[in-house]
Symmetry: C2
Subunit: 427 residues, 2 copies
């Protein structure tokens, strides 16, 4: 056994045994090899007293390098936010910016307990290299050409995807996976959607998309295709492979049944959906139907953090307020969304729970701070009163990425400096 975490409060993330009390967790190689009350020999012992151990948080939808635009434009209508705060900056982005932005995003994510994320943005090779450097787990999505691309050779974009996939899928001892981005119904025509569906089926890859984020997206889809985004995806065969769909706010009951039947994993982005005035996704109803909803931060430009602990609090609270029902989206459901469901959304089968045989992706949270005192219920405290800054230790694939809040694989000060330099160039 390489690492033994002793006397720690254990939240397993497994809804069968969510709050497992205090015990010891053993790690051998990249996996969890023991959970229980016995003392074990290990090369390294970590004192877990006063800590909560839980599965690393799973950020199931983000655009990492958008951290470079955080807080630049806020409180504006979507069009103005895009036209002033996003598009002009994205037009200038180069590989160096993406490198600096990705490393900053990974720094923020590790420091707030995220061990795995699903990403969709530009210069995917650069982000993949940042992920390997950091030692975090990720699935990075790349799409075929859209109807908005100037380049219009579909075969070229397939080759580009395959090259990316062959280089990075499984890299870093299994830390990295690749997936097919199908951005949304509005960046494609129907032939493009069908081409992507065929390509996903042919390559056996998972799809990462946005679906029904705004009311106007649904209205435009009906005007363009005659049906809603989800029904158009269904029609084109895009739901016949594993699909992770961000947002799913403007959906009806029948669409929820399609999501359930097809095994689509919706990703709830509470902060971003409020920040952009998109609305509240029907999370309580989806959970009630048994849909494994995950949680994402979305890009930092519409959040403006990548903090999954903050996102859990928002997720647990807003639906209670919106439905006038304090029993909705409880602590157990929220933890499952941010861990087990998230792992499924990101496309990993053996992460998202503390379980023998699962990958050793876990975090230790200092639960003895004043704002969590008295600690009457660790599970409730995790959702309602813990802060991202309480994350003390982060382990991914058995490797310690942060200890006592100090990063082990990344140079935080240098990363912040470089990100500031990039922002000066971009804005």
């Amino acid at each position: 056994m390489d690492i033994l975490i002793k006397n720690v409060r254990i939240i397993t993330g497994d809804s069968v045994l969510m709050d497992a009390g205090t015990g010891n967790i053993g790690i051998t190689g990249d996996s969890i090899s023991y959970i229980g009350s016995e003392d074990k020999q290990a090369a390294r012992v970590i004192n877990g007293k006063g800590m909560i151990a839980m599965p690393g948080l799973q950020n199931a939808h983000t655009h990492t390098s958008m951290v470079l635009m955080r807080n630049y434009i806020t409180d504006k209508p979507l069009e103005k936010w895009l036209e002033e705060g996003i598009f002009p900056i994205e037009a200038k982005l180069n590989k160096k910016h993406i490198k600096n932005g990705s490393l900053l995003a990974l720094t923020e994510m590790i420091k707030s307990g995220t061990t795995s994320f699903l990403d969709m943005y530009y210069e995917v090779d650069t982000t993949a290299e940042a992920v390997l450097k950091a030692g975090i787990r990720a699935n990075i999505s790349l799409g075929l050409l859209t109807s908005h691309d100037k380049e219009n050779n579909l075969e070229n974009s397939k080759t580009e995807w395959k090259n990316f996939h062959n280089t990075y899928n499984g890299a870093g001892g299994g830390l990295l996976r690749t997936s097919l981005e199908v951005h949304s119904v509005y960046l494609y025509d129907e032939k493009g959607l069908m081409d992507s569906a065929d390509f996903a089926a042919e390559t056996g890859t998972m799809i990462h998309c946005h679906l029904s984020e705004t009311r106007s997206e649904v209205e435009n889809s009906i005007a363009k295709y005659g049906v809603s985004p989800i029904r158009e995806f269904l029609k084109c065969g895009l739901l016949d492979v594993p699909t992770t769909a961000a947002h799913t706010i403007w959906i009806d009951d029948e669409e929820m049944d399609i999501i359930l039947e097809k095994g689509v994993v919706p990703v709830h982005c509470a902060s971003s959906n409020m920040f952009l005035g998109s609305g509240f996704a029907p999370v309580p109803k989806m959970l009630k139907k048994g849909i494994p909803v995950a949680i994402g931060t979305d890009g930092a430009a519409s959040n403006n953090n990548l903090d999954m602990i903050k996102e859990m609090a928002f997720t647990a609270l807003i639906h209670k307020g919106n439905n006038l029902d304090p029993t909705l989206v409880n602590s157990t459901e929220t933890v499952s969304m941010a861990t087990a469901n998230g792992a499924r959304a990101i496309g990993f089968k053996d992460t998202g729970m503390l379980k023998e045989g699962y990958k050793a992706d876990l975090i230790l949270i200092d639960s003895d701070k004043a704002h969590n005192t008295p600690l009457l219920n660790p599970l409730n405290a995790l959702i309602y009163s813990t802060k991202g800054s309480d994350v003390d230790t982060v382990i991914v694939n058995g490797k310690i990425l942060m200890e006592n809040r100090e990063l082990k694989t990344l140079d935080e000060e240098k990363i912040k400096y470089n990100a500031r330099q990039s922002a000066v160039e971009l804005i």
Copy 2:
């Protein structure tokens, strides 16, 4: 000049000049004596580089010692939460518990940047002593007897209030004020409400109350008095003195006009109102009418934090989501709510803004953390990506209560220990 804070980014909290850029702030005695770009001589110089200076946050509605019950019962209907999580514990509360709970609450508040609060709970003398020990600013409310009290001598309760008022109003060099609690329409009969109104007028004191928190409170008020809680307060003369009213969720347009005309300050408690399934207060509409809405955490048992920075993020986001409008409750408005409006709600005239002549109640926030990088807009960053744990320094009445996150007037470890002991006795 006693203290000069140099080269700091200044958010004044004054909506005329909210984001004042980088400069120096001088403190002489208990007051701000200089804000500008000049270098000044001072006994003590604080390097403000990389920090945001802003008015201390004003928690305009809380029940401090409820920290002892935080996270105990969550995700339950209001009745169950009260019957299982609150009432049995409150029945056991003694002075020692209130002391330990108050000190823990003050610790959490100072550590997340709150410099002033409006409180309503039991054993007010004990909380007042804790406030004086901590050196924080507060207004503590005590009510006359309610229709639920076993003791039924009104004159005794008036004498008790006067003794409390005479002992503590103005104590600690003006840190403490006292006010009259009129809990709600449902804890009084009409005579009791009128007695309180007369007493407030006679003593010239401010009233602190709950109004229209739940739909059933309004329905019951109409059944009992024939009118809504606000109209009943109006009828009884309770709005003829300065009144601070927590929640005001279930109010109509005409009631907003009454609030505006009577100068009532409503206190928005976003987290608590969601946690208990009470709903979303019409904050955008109230702000549009020019009502100076403040922000409160409510008690920690329904939050489950006392973190005004988290509360600002919730306040800015939920109304955008609820109204499908990202322009509502912008950064400037949110800061004003948590500072200038809050000071008015709590009953102090010269706090809540960084302004020469105002009391030196201010905080320094470390704005160079990864999650605030790049710092493209300090004001937006404060609302959308700052954490309570970023508060570095807290100054109240010219005295440093926290520096480099270390408390100067309170023994944090001892306070946490004692609070845990009290929780063991209570639960």
